[in-house]
């Protein structure tokens, strides 16, 4: 079966969740009050907005991830054929790895992989 | 080279310590039948043995003639640190024609009682004791306010 099954699955997922949520909406009688809609923060009122600017200490990891992620997509086609091609492929990817590993070591040395 | 050695040592040590932990939990899982300690309340209600000193609630001891030993002296009421006991007294007329203080209603607020045992200690006639019941859940709080002297009960003879 082809890619059409993906659509079937997506529709199934939407139907499943949609129906479940719909049933929940229909069956329950909900009470409302002002406090109910407020964000839950351990039972006291929140101070200030929650959508604030926020210091994501780990964005450097996300940067590095992107680089390695791209590396990964090159490795997939390589992995498929490496057995067929043999040594050349290993050497080519060895160079590829070596260069990236240099970068990795550089990052390590610079302390980019350390939490700040 | 020592860097690599340390590195590998780190990894090995970590894996080992994790494996020890996993071994332990898996042993519990395997010997579950033997190790489990769960008691099946309420199925075991009949066999559930509470120690005789367990303090579940205060009761007024009544004997088979519906007689108790409470003189209405309010010693327990005074001893109770949080006023869970309220003794309402009345005046009985003794056969000799004398007025005598006696217990009218023994109101006991189970919802407030802290099972501290002070009232039992204070009672000069050992009229009250701690019972081993504990299933006091109710859907109405007023059900927890109890009158301990049973209807028609009277003081046992000879208790001063």
């Amino acid at each position: 079966m082809g890619a059409g099954s993906l659509i079937a699955l997506i529709i199934a997922a939407i139907a499943f969740s949609g129906i479940a949520i719909l049933v929940a909406k229909l069956v329950t009688k909900a009470t409302t009050n002002k406090q109910k809609g407020e964000p839950y923060e351990c039972g006291v009122t929140t101070q200030g907005p929650s959508w604030i600017q926020f210091n994501v200490g780990y964005y450097l990891f996300a940067l590095l991830f992107l680089i390695f992620d791209v590396e990964l997509i090159f490795l997939f086609p390589w992995a498929v054929v490496v057995k067929k091609i043999g040594w050349i492929a290993l050497i080519e990817v060895g160079i590829f790895f070596l260069i990236l590993f240099t970068g990795f070591l550089y990052a390590h040395k610079k302390g980019a992989l350390k939490w700040k | 080279m020592s860097f690599i050695k340390n590195y590998l040592n780190d990894v090995w040590g970590a894996v080992k310590s994790l494996a020890t932990g996993m071994k332990l939990t898996s042993q519990y899982a395997i010997h579950h039948k033997k190790e489990k300690i769960t008691q099946l309340y309420p199925d075991n209600r009949d066999t559930l043995l509470l120690p005789e000193r367990f303090r579940g609630e205060v009761v007024l001891i009544h004997d088979e003639n519906n007689e108790h030993a409470c003189t209405g002296c309010t010693a327990c009421e005074i001893a109770c640190p949080n006023g869970s006991i309220k003794i309402i007294t009345k005046f009985d007329i003794t056969p000799e024609g004398k007025k005598k203080k006696a217990l009218d209603t023994f109101v006991y607020h189970l919802d407030m009682c802290t099972m501290c045992n002070l009232c039992i200690e204070a009672c000069p006639t050992d009229a009250i004791k701690m019972d081993q019941t504990f299933e006091h859940s109710v859907t109405d709080r007023n059900d927890l306010i109890k009158i301990l002297n049973k209807p028609g009960s009277r003081i046992r003879d000879g208790v001063e």
């Binding site: 450097l60 992620d69 390589w78 054929v81 | -």
Partner: protein, 192 residues
């Protein structure tokens, strides 16, 4: 219309719709999410074109990587709840006009052009991609492949150098808790 056609138009509408939303919504986080959906749509288009590998790459890199990174940077630099200011009306109208004109122009070019379909069977099997990627021959992409590693290395070093520049005042403020404040006051009772 066959099912495949319907699906194409659906995908196209999805891509364009999400793209437009992404470029017009004023909440930056939502904008990123719409962009994400648009990119997923593009990936679906690749599936539809039966270049599965590219489709998956699209998901991995764009959706799993770039958009997540964008979202992170949104959190770092914005009050993500506040709305972005509207562009001035003048500029908006001007850009709409310019864009429409450019679109009309380009599309008329495309429309006039008579594309000749080539012959042969399209096969984007991954082993073929791999073969060609590693081969050093005429059709090979071995050199770009290695060049990519250099590019990535450069990007990585660049990122690290830029991102790890000496802390500016904001970081200085957050990090430099004066040490003597933290330290033990009782040890020197006559401090201050």
């Amino acid at each position: 219309m066959t099912a495949s056609q319907i699906i194409f138009y659906l995908i196209a509408a999805f891509i364009l719709g999400c793209g437009i939303l992404s470029m017009t919504t004023r909440k930056i986080f939502r904008s990123a999410i719409w962009l994400l959906f648009s990119l997923i749509g593009v990936s679906a288009l690749y599936f539809w074109l039966q270049v599965e590998f590219i489709a998956a790459v699209q998901i991995v890199v764009y959706v799993g990587g770039i958009v997540v990174l964008i979202i992170f940077s949104v959190f770092l630099t914005q009050q993500s709840g506040t709305e972005m200011p509207k562009a001035p009306r003048k500029r908006m109208i001007a850009s709409i006009l310019a864009v429409l004109f450019g679109f009309a122009f380009t599309f008329s070019l495309i429309y006039k052009n008579n594309f000749k379909a080539g012959d042969g069977k399209f096969d984007s099997d991954i082993s073929r991609i791999g073969d060609q990627m590693l081969s050093t021959g005429e059709q090979g992409f071995a050199l770009p492949f290695e060049a990519v590693s250099i590019l990535l290395l450069a990007a990585m070093i660049g990122c690290i150098v830029i991102a790890m520049k000496a802390p500016t005042h904001q970081q200085a403020a957050s990090q430099a808790e004066p040490k003597e404040n933290e330290g033990n006051i009782s040890a020197k009772p006559n401090a201050q």
